[in-house]
């Protein structure tokens, strides 16, 4: 990979010199806010913006609101300034909101019953404050059959059907195409020359005509010196990510915003780079633009599909571009961090312990941080795809972490452990482990000769972690799982929430248990999160609090400079109850911050 054309070389440097590498793990300094804010229950302070206060005609006071001393963070108050007439889909409603919201940073969006005749079933009822006891926990929030018909907003996805193979064209041309079209979501990757590289669904024969059309549309815009980024056809959204030699296309009928789909395409592109590195990718196409990239990518289709399917199911870490940590006591985490640092070998760049896709511990050099996107690639490879986990024992592989350096490989040592058994043995080959229970030690080095050193580090590390009881701590934390919403706020009406700590680039969420244990209701949950997220992240949006109501739920998004909170309660939950609960969640997380999040990690 040493020979590049001038142009290619130039591009490569451009990208690699990109200084925007989000810091992770972050510096503990971000804590200060929370320390300040931890003074309990000062009475609720009104939003600081005068305009807002004056407009708040029906302000509901929030009795137990938490006050943050930081002036930049306002208390959550539900302010119902006006009823925005309801467009048929709340996506457009949120657009309206963001357009008209310049003068108001907090707004509760009510979808009024103006269109009640037709839309009654979607929005109207809920607006009339259906009593919450009608929607008790067992009444099947988001999962009744009526809800499916009514809430076009959050379509149900039959995952068996969605992920089923599309038969080859030879068998039945029409059937194959119909099945292909019936998929809720597609990902296509093609070369700039129009060669198909990857498709989640369907064989080459089926997709070739679609790929041809897409390439024609994209290149038409290119020839007009324009870049096509997305378009809408009926209810289907097309988003295109153009890279130098590749077009990545997402086609989705799920309620997802362009920004969200683009983040997913970015992750797929990172996966390709992690296999090939950017210089290799550029080189391949500069030598022969018509190269079939499937050959050099051979064997990684499963990784792309694992990513794609996690997006289709709903991925909190991609939605929030952050990671989740395993909750444990600060002192316990410190012992694990210290043990890792003590076990460190010279060649080590990053050391990670990950349990079921949640971070337990990270050690890193002072001058290097870890990019969440890179970690997500690693987690996908280890926990979503079977390749490495099924290999059992130990693995050693080259991997390019594009956030760290997209020009070269690091070498990753992985060992899966069975922490449950008394002896903490390594897993036998092909031992099946549930994703949630898998604990992996991941050691990264820039030296490709480092296997034996990393292996001996791992042996020492396991020995020490056993000796100081940390393995048991990890095992217990894994077993405890995530808390239920009612464990966090007793008696809460909240069914689920997502909390992102911006400073820590990590998120926290309660268990999916009971309510969202099956993938369909989880998909609906994430559709609502997607809508909430889109509405507060829309371009030029100044909305900081968004309240969304439909027949199935009452939901709230709350964005401050420090965090993002998205919570969902059963339909009919009044705004003030929702706001109160949101405040309690924030208080809880603030109190538990050092357990919930991995703060700073250990450096060396």
């Amino acid at each position: 990979m040493s020979q590049h054309g001038d142009q290619v070389e130039h591009e490569v440097q451009d990208v690699s010199s990109d200084p925007h590498r989000p810091p992770l793990p972050p510096r503990p300094s971000t804590l200060s806010f929370f320390q300040d804010g931890s003074k309990p229950n000062t009475s609720s302070r009104p939003p600081t913006r005068a305009g807002l206060v004056s407009r708040a005609t029906t302000a509901l006071s929030v009795a137990d609101a938490n006050a943050f001393s930081s002036g930049s963070v306002r208390n959550l108050r539900s302010v119902s300034s006006q009823n925005i007439s309801s467009p048929s889909r709340s996506k457009s409603a949120s657009r309206t909101a963001s357009e008209t919201a310049d003068d108001s940073s907090i707004r509760s969006l009510e979808l009024s019953s103006e269109h009640a005749q037709e839309q009654d079933s979607i929005f109207g009822e809920a607006f009339h404050n259906k009593r919450s006891d009608d929607f008790g926990l067992d009444s099947g929030f988001l999962s009744t059959n009526e809800a499916r018909e009514e809430t076009e907003l959050v379509p149900q996805v039959d995952f068996d059907q969605e992920f089923a193979d599309v038969p080859d064209e030879h068998d039945d041309d029409e059937l194959a195409h119909n099945l292909w079209k019936a998929k809720k979501k597609h990902f296509l990757i093609l070369s700039a020359a129009g060669k198909p590289i990857y498709t989640r669904h369907g064989s080459d024969a089926i997709i070739s005509s679609y790929v041809g059309i897409i390439q024609t549309i994209i290149s038409a815009y290119t020839s007009w010196d324009n870049q096509l980024r997305s378009f809408l056809a009926d209810d289907t959204k097309f988003v295109i990510l153009s890279q130098t030699n590749l077009f990545l296309v997402a086609i989705s009928t799920l309620p997802e915003s362009e920004v969200q789909l683009r983040a997913q395409l970015d992750a797929l592109y990172m996966q390709i780079l992690s296999t090939l590195t950017l210089p290799t990718l550029s080189h391949i196409f500069s030598v022969r633009p018509s190269t079939d990239l499937r050959r050099p990518l051979q064997g990684t289709e499963v990784l792309l599909s694992a990513l794609a399917d996690s997006f289709t199911r709903g991925s909190p870490s991609t939605l929030l571009t952050s990671l989740e940590s395993l909750r444990m006591r600060k002192a316990h985490r410190k012992i694990i961090n210290d043990t890792m640092v003590k076990a460190r070998v010279d060649d080590l760049l990053y050391g990670l312990i990950v349990a079921g896709g949640r971070l337990v511990s990270v050690i890193r050099p002072k001058k290097h941080s870890l990019h969440p996107g890179d970690l997500q690639l690693i987690f996908n490879m280890l926990f979503e795809a079977e390749g490495i986990k099924a290999g059992g024992g130990e693995s050693f592989l080259p991997i390019c972490l594009p956030g760290f350096n997209n020009r070269g490989y690091l070498y990753m040592y992985v060992s899966f452990l069975d922490v449950a058994s008394e002896a903490v043995r390594e897993l036998d080959i092909d031992e099946k482990i549930a994703k949630e229970d898998a604990v992996a030690i991941i050691l990264l080095s820039a030296n490709k000769e480092s296997f034996e050193d990393l292996q001996s580090m791992k042996s020492y590390l396991i020995h020490e972690l056993r000796k100081n009881g940390s393995m048991k701590v990890i095992h217990r934390a894994v077993q405890n799982g995530r808390p239920l919403p009612t464990d966090i706020v007793p008696g809460t009406a909240l069914r689920h929430f997502l909390y992102k700590s911006k400073g820590n680039v990590q998120f926290f969420m309660p268990s999916f248990e009971a309510q969202f244990s099956d993938s369909q209701s989880r998909r609906q949950l994430f559709s609502i999160y997607g809508l909430l997220h889109a509405s507060v992240h829309a371009k030029f949006a100044t909305v900081k609090v968004q309240h969304m109501v439909n027949t199935t739920c009452s939901a709230l998004a709350w964005v401050t400079p420090m965090f993002e909170l998205y919570c969902i309660a059963s339909a009919g939950t009044p705004r003030n109850a929702l706001a109160q609960n949101a405040n309690k969640v924030v208080q809880y997380i603030q109190r538990e911050e050092e357990r919930i999040f991995l703060i700073g990690g250990a450096t060396f």
Binding site: Q298, G299, L303, S395, F396, A423, E426, I429, I462
Partner: protein, 220 residues
């Protein structure tokens, strides 16, 4: 830690030796499946491609006095991993080069691996050639693309052990590894603890071997 404790303990007077073994060959010929059959006596009809390389161990008892532990590098067959191969075969005492008897081109790839091993790896490396997917040919003889005699003649000429195998039915899998174990210079391997000096295995009779890799160091 079970199974990875100090090596070299065995019955009084028994011999215990540890050897590094590397599997090479084109992708999808069944390297991982052979290892899975050998180590776990299992078979997966559908198995995802190996990424990078997996490291596994398995112990073979040759007779009541002799135990051989294999440290196995199961490498990924894709072309993009080729530059890493020297790292895996550098200190290997033995290699299994696998091809698919239903794919003629996979034998060509195997031959090029064997050439590379003979040129670059330990001088005394023991190489076995394994023609996998015998079960497919048993079911449908038309699928055979490499006649046994051809591969056997080549193996003989190149000084290799040769087996046709089936990871699926376990045909010749144990035999393959046992044959390798028998051919290894056990007499020179006393009961030793590899852990004590992981850089050089107990059988590393050619200390200069570590220095002879020019190829792998420059391209990354």
């Amino acid at each position: 830690m079970a199974g990875r404790g100090p090596a070299g303990r065995s019955g009084a007077g028994g011999r215990f030796a540890q050897f590094k073994l590397v599997l090479l060959g084109e992708s999808a010929v069944g390297k991982s499946s052979l290892v899975l059959r050998f180590v776990k006596d299992q078979f997966d009809d559908y198995r995802e491609s190996t990424i990078g390389a997996a490291f596994l161990t398995q112990t073979v008892t040759l007779d009541e006095n002799t135990t051989v532990k294999f440290e196995i590098w199961d490498t990924a067959g894709q072309e993009r991993y080729k530059s890493l191969a020297p790292m895996y075969y550098r200190n290997a005492h033995c290699a299994v080069v696998v091809y698919d008897i239903t794919q003629a081109s996979s034998l060509d790839k195997a031959k090029s691996w064997i050439k590379e091993l003979q040129r670059q790896a330990n001088e005394n490396i023991i190489i076995a050639l394994a023609g996998n997917k015998k079960d497919t040919v048993d079911e449908n003889p038309d699928k055979r693309a490499v006649p046994t005699a051809d591969a056997e003649a080549y193996a003989k000429e190149a000084g290799l052990l040769f087996f046709e195998t089936s990871a699926k039915t376990s045909y010749n899998v144990k035999e393959l590894f046992t044959a390798i174990a028998k051919k290894l210079p056990l007499d020179q391997a006393g009961p030793r603890n590899l852990r004590a000096n992981p850089r050089t295995g107990p059988l590393d009779l050619r200390p200069e071997a570590t220095g002879q890799q020019g190829a792998g160091n420059c391209n990354c």
